[in-house]
Symmetry: C2
Subunit: 203 residues, 2 copies
């Protein structure tokens, strides 16, 4: 980076504003909350950011992905890594508990408002709910795969992963609710314990 470019950048005469992707996410969430998902066009989102439709689709494969692109792979990786890092003696459920801890810890309290708004928007739209469910399945699969690599039988791995992620989803819903103020890690542990108890009572 040359001295000139530093100056130009600092003075704000850069050709485009930086952080386009994040600004698109913010604008999209705002507009979806204001007017609804269907009533908001990709053009509107792009224009609000001072950019065109094409640029939007260069950052996100489709309209709804603007709300999910951030999570999916990152969260999968966190879960898989935590499972792999669990002690050899850990049972499948213990490994899953560790993974849930790791994932929950990434949601610091400054993200709560964003999460809450996102939840409302997603809950109000079939297409977005489907995408959320798809993400859930993706995380279950990633977790189950990581368990399988530890030698856990497939069926067991899938059930343990599903149990864990259902616990996480429930905890996340509580966390995003302005009423409750506990950290997500605590909520997730509670929820996981409840689900394990219910599962044990099934048999």
């Amino acid at each position: 980076m040359t001295l000139l470019s530093h100056i130009v950048y600092a003075v704000g005469v850069a050709r485009w504003e930086p952080n386009t992707k994040e600004r698109l996410v913010q604008a999209a969430l705002d507009l979806f909350a204001e007017q609804g998902y269907d009533a908001t066009t990709v053009n509107e989102i792009a224009e609000r950011v001072g950019v065109t439709k094409m640029t939007f689709f260069r950052h996100f494969p489709d309209k709804r992905e603007v709300l999910f692109a951030a999570g999916q792979e990152v969260h999968s990786q966190i879960l898989a890594d935590a499972i792999a890092a669990a002690p050899d003696l850990a049972t499948p459920l213990q490994a899953v508990a560790a993974a849930l801890d790791a994932l929950s810890a990434t949601f610091t309290d400054d993200r709560r408002e964003f999460a809450a708004r996102l939840r409302v928007v997603v809950a109000g739209q079939r297409e977005l709910r489907e995408r959320a469910a798809s993400k859930h399945n993706g995380l279950v699969e990633a977790t189950a795969e990581a368990l399988a690599k530890r030698g856990v039988p497939d069926l067991t791995a899938t059930l343990a992963a599903e149990l864990g992620l259902r616990a996480f989803d429930r905890a996340f819903a509580h966390w995003a609710d302005p009423a409750s103020s506990q950290p997500l890690t605590d909520l997730t542990r509670q929820s996981f314990d409840e689900l394990r108890a219910a599962s044990a009572a099934l048999a």
Copy 2:
């Protein structure tokens, strides 16, 4: 129906061929299998049936629904009814077992080839897989709701329903495979037993 209309119908001078909806489903599945889901347009499907795009969308809310419209509500109802009809003494898992029996029994062997083709097409397309997962969730919810009406706690109901429908999905996959020739009811019972064992071993 008058005598005249009988004659007209028999002679085939009716304004349009009957069974438009089913013929659309058949044409869609054929085309999807031939050229792929993305490569076939709604126009193609409609034209093959001798009808226009508009008519397609009068029968199905969107393109992918042509492969799912048949199932969803019907299957939900079958599951819910069977749960409701289970003896009062039945445990949640026993009620679910009865529901799976009822659902499996509706898939007679003459539907196997259709099911097999459908599975291949769905498996090859993200959009369709998502829709299938959404249907799965819908059936889980319907089953869990029916269990809750019997007084089963929500968490228990959801877990039992999820366990049951995972068993069904696995069994269905085997059933649709030309290699195995057992009736779906048997496969479902086997799969359900396996999953119950794995679930019990989790704790």
